[in-house]
């Protein structure tokens, strides 16, 4: 079974803090993705990566950066957290079109 794990299920951070969200997949997938999910807005793509050290912006990259130093790990970084980044963050990986998702991290920025 494909397994995608995310470092935290729930996280509370203060405005201005630097936040790291970690994602690890165990299926040697080339592609990895970070989304945020908000009520009424669905899943919106923040960043994705097709290979180690490679990254591409998604639809809403502002305020975020990513790092992929190893194939199995894809990190999302909030450089200076703001309250409008309070959301559910979902990581996914894929070999082709089927994406496998982690359980999500519920981030609250106060």
């Amino acid at each position: 079974d494909v397994k995608v794990t995310q470092s935290s299920r729930y996280l509370v951070k203060r405005t201005g803090e630097k936040v790291f969200l970690e994602c690890v997949q165990d299926m040697d997938h080339e592609n990895m993705f970070w989304y945020r999910q908000d009520p009424g807005l669905g899943l919106r793509l923040i960043y994705f990566s097709y290979d180690v050290k490679m990254k591409e912006k998604g639809d809403i990259p502002e305020g975020y950066s990513v790092s992929r130093e190893k194939k199995e790990r894809f990190s999302l970084i909030l450089e200076s957290a703001s309250t409008n980044q309070t959301s559910m963050y979902l990581c996914a990986s894929s070999l082709d079109l089927e994406q496998y998702f982690g359980p999500g991290t519920r981030l609250t920025v106060t």
């Binding site: 995608v4 080339e30 592609n31 993705f33 989304y35 009424g40 807005l41 669905g42 899943l43 919106r44 793509l45 994705f48 097709y50 591409e56 998604g58 979902l90 996914a92 894929s94 082709d96 079109l97 089927e98 994406q99 998702f101 982690g102 359980p103 999500g104």
Partner: protein
Amino acid sequence: QKEVEQDPGPLSVPEGAIVSLNCTYSNSAFQYFMWYRQYSRKGPELLMYTYSSGNKEDGRFTAQVDKSSKYISLFIRDSQPSDSATYLCAFGGDAGGTSYGKLTFGQGTILTVHP
């Protein structure tokens, strides 16, 4: 105009009802059509996947695609309380190039099937 439109619901039906979930899209480049199911406090999981117009059946689930109208549907027959979840439509572009593997999701429809 949004690239994908999906009625967010919520939709509440009695057990045994037929459920119809729908999405419209505007991007003609979409070639792959998917439905994901997301249970509460979990990540989405792929439910069905097709790349051609017409119907595809899997047990109680039928995915329907009409490329000419840019419209896809998911039908659930004999709905069960265990079908209660959020259903997301998803669309993929042509294989090859940087679009491959990237999906565009609908907003999700919240479905509750009550006993």
